[in-house]
């Protein structure tokens, strides 16, 4: 009789998935996430764009300033200026994913890199990087957004750059704190004594052990960043009027 042994990593993955799908809140989260991904992917079929070359601009019928309630041909009603809300929600899903993912990923890369370098080398490097982080911490977010919107014009790119510049500072801080607690552990010393290069120690040994607090914040941020972008649009520093955005 032949006993089939699975690769330990596959076994671990199976166990993880089993644990995840026993948790009701995890199931709700996964279902919601997939629902929104589906909406984002099938946006051209759910709400066919009127103008193929710029699908993110919401179509509007007429210029009346009175918002319309839901009715025939407008499932969620219209805003003032007669923009179709349903179309905006569907295509805004794509914008929301774009903002959330791009901002969090870029900020994560920048923040984690600075955090690891500052925490690992310490001393003067640490001092310089952390004072730089302090400088960025002290700058009000609204002002940064304003500066980029005025310099590059209203649009998604200005918001994304401003948001990245605001978000990375926190990741750098948390990453550095994590690295500090890992840096003096025995296995790092062992790796050093074996002559492993600094870069490899940072990437293979320190990063995986110090990254969890940053990942928790980053995942929570992916949602709240969309809200922040919405607030910027609300006060008139965000995307232009009529652009599909949550």
């Amino acid at each position: 009789m032949e006993t089939k042994t699975e690769h330990p990593k596959i076994k671990e993955l199976k166990y993880t998935l089993y644990r995840i799908f026993r948790n009701p809140s995890a199931i709700i989260g996964v279902v919601l996430l997939f629902a929104f991904i589906t909406i984002a992917v099938f946006a051209p079929y759910i709400a066919p764009p009127k103008f193929k070359h710029r699908p993110y601009m919401m179509p509007h019928k007429g210029y009346s300033m009175t918002p319309q309630p839901p009715g025939q041909g407008r499932i969620f009603g219209t805003t003032s200026g007669q923009y179709d809300i349903f179309y905006g929600v569907v295509w805004g899903t794509r914008t929301a994913f774009r903002i959330g993912i791009i901002v969090v990923l870029s900020a994560f890369v920048i923040g984690a890199a600075f955090g690891i370098v500052a925490g690992y080398y310490g001393g003067l490097v640490d001092e310089i990087i952390m004072r730089m982080v302090d400088v960025f911490f002290a700058i009000p977010f609204t002002i940064l957004a304003m500066a980029f919107v005025v310099a590059f014009g209203r649009g998604l790119n200005s918001i994304v750059i401003a948001l990245i510049l605001v978000v990375w500072r926190r990741y750098a801080r948390v990453m550095r704190a994590g690295v500090l607690s890992v840096r003096d552990q025995d296995y790092i010393l062992a790796a050093k004594s074996m002559g492993v290069s600094d870069l490899k120690i940072m990437l293979r040994h320190i990063f995986p052990n110090a990254v969890y607090p940053v990942m928790v914040i980053a995942f929570m941020d992916a949602g709240s960043i969309v809200i922040t972008a919405a607030f910027l649009s609300f006060i008139g520093l965000g995307v232009p009027i009529g652009y599909a955005d949550w």
Binding site: D134, G223, F234, G236, L237
Partner: protein, 403 residues
């Protein structure tokens, strides 16, 4: 030991029964407070003498503070240069245009640019700005129609007043809720707090504020937006001898002047902004406190204490909570340091003329003196709060002192 139970019983024999009960009660109170307070040792004078010999990050406390204040100058310098650099990307005409009121004045723009040297290189303009602010001249604010420093002095108390109400609620309630959720993991209390925290976290502040305003103000005429009602404002500005404005905060001024009409009116205006602020901001503190409690509760010393037979309440509130408090204090420090920026959305919706509203107006209308002044001011607050948090760390956690 003077105030032992024996002493109190002796005293009780001599005096009547009520005084005995009172002293026993107070003894229990003090004992309980002493037992569970994190700060019990920190109230003694000897601690404060000792603290000054304590080392933080390798230096004594006064040296540490002095070093941090030196860094403060560096940070403020960095902030101002960065902001100045960003604002210098605007063309000189654009910066001058903020001061133009009517179409007839448009042809004056080149003259303005020449007069104020807006087309000169970066370092000359920056040096001129530094020179002027060292004389206390932050420039003219077009948004507030007054000198920038006066505008900040006028707008700041409103923001401070709101945060004076919201921040203590957020910090105390947040830490309390997080502690409870951490202790009673996976029970009804835990789920309720977590769901509440997630809802608060994912609510857009401005949307929640608008809904509250729509419900309470437009349906029931309760809790109006703004800072103070018009008739109260008239009364204050018409009777400067009856109502002296000490701080600019209506609730505190009202108490100092013993005029509770003003206090009540100000509180009515404060209610919804504080509710919004607490609901939205408390989420992060609850989550941090909860996860930190869970981490500490699974550590070995808890098992040891339990094996010794220490009761659960003592373990949770004396051993675990003390250790779990550190990350929560970091977050609370951030909340305080960024509170002015955090008030932007609330002040914008509720039309409270605070620093957040000034910031939004200045940012959307390109009021450069105000933008620069506020960034430097917020930088100052940020550095000072961080300094306080670091010292507080050393006060609370002996491990940081010893490092």
């Amino acid at each position: 030991m003077k105030y032992t139970a024996d002493y109190i019983y002796q005293k009780a024999e001599r005096s009547d029964i009520t005084s005995f009960h009172f002293s026993l009660f107070s003894f229990q109170l003090i004992g309980r407070f002493h037992k569970f307070s994190i700060f019990n040792y920190h109230f003694s004078i000897s601690f404060w003498f000792w603290l000054f010999q304590v080392r933080i990050q390798g230096v004594t406390l006064p040296a540490f503070i002095a070093r941090r204040l030196m860094f403060m100058v560096v940070v403020l310098f960095g902030v101002s240069i960065l902001m100045f650099g960003i604002l210098m990307t605007f063309s000189p005409e654009r910066r001058a245009a903020a001061f133009v009121k009517s179409p007839q004045q448009v042809k004056e723009i080149p003259k303005l640019v020449k007069k104020y040297g807006l087309d000169q290189p970066f370092y000359i303009q920056y040096a001129r700005w530094i020179k002027e602010i060292s004389h206390g001249n932050f420039g003219w604010s077009t948004v507030a129609s007054s000198p920038t420093l006066d505008a900040i002095k006028r707008y700041l108390p409103v923001t401070i007043e709101m945060n004076l109400f919201s921040l203590p609620i957020i910090i105390i309630l947040g830490i309390w809720l997080g502690t409870i959720a951490g202790i009673h993991r996976d029970t009804l209390i835990d789920h309720a707090t977590r769901i509440g925290a997630i809802i608060g976290w994912s609510l857009p502040t401005f949307l929640f504020a608008l809904i509250l305003l729509m419900f309470f103000y437009s349906q029931f005429q309760l809790f109006p937006p703004g800072v103070i009602s018009d008739h109260i404002d008239d009364f204050i500005s018409n009777n400067p001898d009856q109502f002296i404005q000490y701080t600019g905060m209506y609730t505190i001024d009202g108490i100092l002047n013993w005029n509770f009409k003003v206090v009540w009116d100000a509180l009515m205006h404060l209610f919804l902004p504080v509710v919004t602020q607490v609901t939205v901001v408390i989420a992060i503190l609850v989550r941090v406190m909860r996860s930190s409690m869970l981490e500490e509760i699974s550590k070995d010393y808890v098992i040891t204490a339990r094996a010794k037979g220490v009761d659960t309440h003592t373990i949770n509130h004396k051993h675990v909570k003390k250790n779990a408090l550190l990350p929560a204090i970091t977050v609370a420090g951030w909340l305080v340091a960024l509170s002015i920026e955090g008030s932007v959305a609330v002040e914008f919706i509720f039309n409270r003329s605070g620093l957040g509203l000034l910031l939004v107006k200045a940012a959307t209308q390109l009021d450069i003196p105000v933008v620069l002044a506020i960034s430097v001011f917020l930088g100052l607050i940020y550095v000072v709060v961080n300094l306080i948090v670091d010292v507080l760390y050393a006060v609370i956690d002996p491990r940081i002192r010893l490092r």
